[in-house]
């Protein structure tokens, strides 16, 4: 019988959203042929959380879901003590989700010094510096199951994953959510005219879409192999970014008509010059419904 990769899925300050997202992975049977959870919050596993805490259970990868705080207690022990113990046992640590990576929404909670494992928003925290080299971040609220599982397979195969400055695999995070968005034509010609849930219009200009400034593969690797937020008619909320969640996610923050946050790497003058040119064109086709009744 082949040896499976042993994973500890540790949930700290979390809503368990990443756990639920993981359950949507479409090839779980195959996954469980290659991996096993020594402990998982909702999937049957060999050990209980009490066993994990009281023993030193052999393990290959530690997955951390949820934000980390100095005083957060899990099964009567400090969560950070569980991290300390198992980070010495495993060869890799993966922060699963935006809370475990950057602090996410739970950085607003009452716990002490809430952050991700290595970052509080964009700022690097120093506490777990010694674990930096063995950590990979999969941000997202929730994580894309394909991204997590493919990363785990890459670890299993010993591949040398190229990571960005937040330790996210470039394979999935070098792109923006704008890449592959089916509304790009509306973006190019600055046509919003969007109504939530409809197919037409770009949501960047008025409806808060952060696709052009958010790193992720949502429009390249579709969710449930079917869809993405922007394809379904909902703005990208920037859930993979350190700053998530911003406020007023359904409207674009503008100053005198100019979006405050521009597409990644685009200079303001260049953006305004291009916008001024494209705005001059009125493309009738893009003003109409795609499917006229």
């Amino acid at each position: 019988m082949k040896k499976k990769v042993r994973i500890l899925w540790l949930g700290l300050i979390t809503c368990n959203g990443n756990t639920h997202s993981f359950l949507n992975y479409t090839h779980l049977e195959q996954f469980f042929n290659d991996f096993e959870f020594i402990y998982h919050p909702i999937i049957d596993s060999e050990y209980s959380l009490e066993d994990i805490i009281s023993q030193d259970v052999a393990c290959d990868i530690l997955l951390i879901e949820g934000a980390i705080a100095d005083d957060f207690i899990k099964a009567d022990v400090l969560g950070i003590d569980i991290i300390k113990k198992y980070s010495n046992i495993v060869s890799k640590i993966v922060t699963v989700g935006t809370c475990a990576t950057f602090g996410g929404i739970f950085k607003e909670s009452h716990y002490k010094n809430v952050s991700g494992l290595h970052f509080r928003e964009e700022k690097r925290t120093e506490k777990y510096n010694h674990l930096f080299e063995k950590t990979i971040s999969i941000s997202g609220c929730p994580i894309h199951p394909e991204t997590l599982v493919s990363t785990l397979y890459a670890i299993k195969k010993g591949l040398d994953l190229k990571l960005d400055s937040y330790l996210r695999p470039k394979e999935y995070f070098a792109y923006t959510v704008h890449n592959g968005c089916t509304r790009n034509e509306y973006f190019e010609y600055k046509v919003d005219h969007h109504h939530f849930g409809e197919l037409e219009g770009c949501m960047f200009y008025d409806h808060g879409c952060q696709g052009p400034l958010t790193h992720g593969s949502c429009n390249k690797i579709l969710w449930n192999e079917i869809n993405s937020k922007t394809r379904a008619g909902l703005p990208c909320m920037g859930c993979t970014e350190p700053s998530f969640p911003k406020q007023n996610l359904f409207s674009t923050k503008k100053n005198m008509g100019i979006p405050e946050f521009l597409p990644v790497g685009v200079n303001k003058r260049v953006y305004l010059t291009l916008a001024g040119i494209t705005k001059a064109f009125k493309i009738d086709r893009l003003q109409k419904k795609l499917f006229d009744d």
Binding site: M256, G257, R269
Partner: protein
């Protein structure tokens, strides 16, 4: 394009601006422009294939002139109030020193739309200038000096006011010299736009 060719094009545009201001746009012909520069008409067409194309290049040239001036102001580390005054000053100063530039913008570009309808749609040919005005507004709002509002509302107030004053000066109806209005006009604009 070589520097030499660009320099010649600019020379032609400057000569054209002068002739358009003195004789009017429709009364000025390509041979008139060529004659004023002691060029052959045939050679003129090496630089501009038609008067309409020349007209479009000139408005881009004027826009670029103002764009560069306002960009320099935008990049200064000064308050929005001071920027407002400097923009008004530049605009009025140009009206005094290079009246043909603003004359072209106000009397030809804005009122001869049939010439500009193909190739200068919307703000395309005045993009350099409008972009810098947008940046002035946006940064003013961001730092809390200006009130957030519809861009065109603010743009119309600012440029309409300046254009109106320059027009009145061109008609010789202003009781004072244009540069004597800089303080009051910039103060009025800033008060109207401020948060």
């Amino acid at each position: 394009m070589t520097d030499k060719k660009q320099q010649k094009k600019e020379q032609i545009m400057l000569a054209s601006l002068g002739l358009f201001a003195s004789k009017g746009f429709y009364n000025t012909t390509i041979p008139d422009i060529a004659l004023s520069l002691k060029m052959s008409v045939g050679n003129m067409y090496n630089y501009f294939k038609s008067k309409d194309l020349l007209a479009k290049e000139i408005i881009k040239f004027v826009s670029s002139y103002f764009g560069k001036k306002i960009r320099a102001i935008n990049e200064e580390n000064i308050s929005t109030k001071e920027k407002t005054r400097k923009i008004v000053e530049i605009y009025f100063q140009t009206a005094i020193v290079k009246p043909e530039m603003l004359d072209y913008f106000l009397r030809i570009y804005l009122s001869t739309r049939e010439v500009f309808k193909d190739g200068c749609e919307g703000m395309i040919c005045v993009n350099d200038f409008v972009t810098e005005i947008m940046i002035y507004f946006e940064e003013g709002v961001k730092c809390g000096d200006l009130r957030d509002q519809d861009f065109f509302n603010a743009f119309g107030l600012f440029m309409g006011y300046l254009g109106g004053m320059v027009f009145l000066q061109g008609e010789n109806v202003l009781p004072k010299k244009l540069n004597e209005y800089v303080d009051d006009v910039s103060d009025n604009i800033y008060k109207a736009l401020s948060a």
